[in-house]
């Protein structure tokens, strides 16, 4: 999984049978209601292996709820979520889904505050999850090397012994991205990574994510248009729980329906 996969920008015109086999993630007709209110309404979405996808949409469009469904936090009322052509994620719990290879960065950064940056990454590092093995295990050479590599990608070598609680907001966001990398998931879900960041930090984050995308498929949710532009990937616009438009940023921002949704509010 550490080898680079080609980034694909194909339009989503496949047959259903083909989709379930070649797509990395396939949502089909997913509906989630909260007391009758449909946060997701018959949403279908397809992510190719190696792809980075930006999901945009106004507040309350259902972006976070979509991630909740994919990661097993929320069970949909209807629809299917197929990962890697085989597992139906709607039947599995969070820990199981995580071990299948889906990592998630939350909208609100949640790093482990009483642990150091290094320990945060070590916890996230793929592999060791069995409680009894962890009782006796020291970090291996391979694990230490991987930690060093990740610390350099997220540009946090100098802070590796700092406690999570002492990090700035931007540093927490990067640590979270590092923790995602450490999990080495097949698919990374990144929810609003640049919220509250300065312009320079935003630019750095876009670079980090492009670097991450060399070896991982990524779905990133974001409001910040300059950031989405810096990513330079295919965009999906969500609105009221369904897909409104899909294509390059220029294409979707020329779409009159998208303009209405964004400007009509």
């Amino acid at each position: 999984m550490t080898t680079a996969q080609p980034v694909s920008h194909q339009p989503t015109a496949h047959t259903t049978a083909h989709r379930t086999t070649s797509a990395l993630l396939y949502l089909s007709g997913v509906t989630v209601s909260f007391d009758g209110f449909k946060a997701l309404n018959n949403l279908s979405l397809l992510i190719e292996p190696g792809e980075m996808r930006a999901i945009i949409g106004p507040n309350g469009a259902g972006k976070t709820t979509m991630m909740d469904v994919i990661t097993g936090k929320t069970r949909p009322d209807e629809g299917q979520v197929v990962f890697d052509g085989q597992a139906d994620l709607t039947k599995l719990d969070e820990a199981h889904i995580a071990t299948l290879g889906i990592g998630r960065k939350f909208q609100k950064p949640t790093v482990f505050e009483s642990h150091t940056v290094r320990d945060n990454l070590l916890l996230a590092l793929a592999g060791m999850r069995s409680w009894y093995k962890l009782l006796g295990a020291a970090p291996t050479k391979a694990e230490n090397d991987r930690l060093a590599e990740i610390l350099s990608i997220i540009r946090m070598e100098a802070q590796q012994h700092m406690l999570g609680a002492r990090l700035s907001h931007g540093q927490k966001q990067w640590l979270e991205i590092g923790m995602l990398l450490a999990q080495n998931p097949k698919l990374m879900l990144v929810d609003e990574p640049v919220a509250g960041m300065t312009d320079v930090e935003t630019e750095t984050t876009a670079q980090v994510l492009r670097e991450v995308n060399k070896s991982h498929s990524v779905v990133v949710v974001e409001h910040d248009m300059s950031f989405v532009r810096a990513l330079g990937v295919k965009v999906t616009v969500l609105h009221e729980g369904s897909m409104l438009a899909e294509g390059s940023l220029d294409q979707v921002s020329a779409d009159p329906r998208v303009v209405e949704v964004y400007l009509g509010r």
Partner: protein, 371 residues
């Protein structure tokens, strides 16, 4: 691998503290046995018994802190595990009395003769052997903790609901053990013990050995806890405490981590209770009283939640104060306890150990500015 596991977790402070506990466990009994009664260094029998008791309380406090300080579960029922361990030991000690009881029945303990039991209840079989009773001290509280934890953690019961469940558990056991037909001696419990492993429980040497055993148990619990908290398991455990759902999304089964520590902690509490009973000479349902579990939580709060040394210090200080006040000014104790709780919650969120660390940090800062 085992020695590595046991040593990496032990910081220098913890190592010194374990040595201190062992030193108390050796010196106090030795001064009792070897010093002439006229010597100023002589430790009277009541003081020996008191220290032995405190050592058992300290083990209970450590057990509570493993669950509260490191899993984030505010347990209000840990005295129940302590009492169950105590009852297992009590059953062994009762059966050692044999025909020396008031009624002279070689099989049935006195209270069963008195209550007209036709024969020994099935669950009393085996308790005449130490090799059977000793593992039961761990198994009975351990299995209860496993069952309770399994259901509670799987259903993701947390916070105040979990606290209420633990409190309800100890209260239910209190009511159950009060009943004469339960077969555990009703509200009188079990007492008038004679021998343990063939030695009189009244003898000075037996008491000295029990005090030492209590210190040894505490030392071992400290070493095991230190190793667990210092391991990668411990890192994961603390992460589960601080952000459980985050750990789930990282692929950890949070409930397994909590369950392991909960069961281990119950087993520790059971052993502490088993060492406590022969030293105080009685076990009765009042050990299940909800207040006992709450007091144990207070020891931890006073000493320092989330540290390994804190609970031990807290157990000693609070119980020393309790022994002194209940003797000197009995009506003051409950108020003192309440006041202590308020003071600790408001001014010492990290207990005495936290205060000490704060003072040291301040002194270091002073030195740095002076230099």
């Amino acid at each position: 691998m085992m020695t590595r596991f046991l040593w990496t977790g032990m910081g220098r402070n913890l190592r010194l503290f374990v040595l201190l506990v062992l030193a108390v466990g050796i010196v106090v009994p030795a001064l009792n046995l070897l010093m002439p009664k006229t010597s100023p260094f002589y430790v009277p029998a009541y003081a020996l018994q008191l220290i032995g008791k405190y050592l058992c309380y300290a083990s209970l406090a450590l057990a509570v802190d493993l669950v509260w300080g490191f899993c984030g579960i505010l347990t209000l029922g840990h005295a129940a595990f302590f009492a169950l361990g105590g009852y297992c030991m009590g059953m062994y000690l009762m059966r050692q009395i044999g025909a020396r009881g008031v009624y002279g029945n070689p099989i049935l303990p006195d209270f069963m003769v008195f209550l007209n039991y036709p024969e020994l209840p099935w669950f009393w079989h085996g308790f005449n052997h130490f090799w059977f009773a000793a593992p039961m001290v761990v198994i009975v509280p351990g299995v209860l903790a496993l069952a309770l934890g399994w259901f509670a953690f799987r259903s993701r019961v947390t916070g105040v609901y979990l606290s209420i469940i633990t409190q309800a558990m100890t209260f239910a056991l209190l009511l159950a053990f009060f009943r004469n037909d339960m077969g555990f001696g009703g509200n009188n419990g079990m007492t008038d013990f004679k021998d343990i492993l063939g030695y009189s429980v009244q003898a000075d040497t037996t008491r000295a050995v029990l005090c030492f055993a209590s210190a040894l148990a505490l030392a071992i619990f400290l070493i095991i806890s230190g190793a667990i908290i210092g391991s990668r398991f411990g890192t994961a455990l603390i992460a589960v405490r601080d952000a459980e759902s985050r750990m789930r999304f990282l692929g950890y089964r949070a409930e397994t981590y909590k369950l392991f520590v909960f069961v281990l902690s119950a087993a520790m509490a059971g052993i502490a209770g088993a060492l406590y009973v022969p030293q105080v000479g009685i076990i009765n349902p009042s050990e299940f009283a909800p207040g006992n579990s709450i007091e144990a939580v207070l020891w931890v709060a006073v000493g320092g939640r989330g540290t390994l040394i804190g609970p031990v210090i807290g157990a000693f200080i609070v119980n020393f104060a309790k022994t002194y006040l209940t003797g000197a000014l009995p009506e003051v104790w409950l108020f003192a306890l309440g006041a202590l709780f308020i003071v600790v919650t408001l001014f010492l969120p990290k207990g005495i150990v936290g205060l000490w660390a704060q003072i040291r940090a301040r002194n270091l800062a002073k030195k740095a500015t002076a230099a």
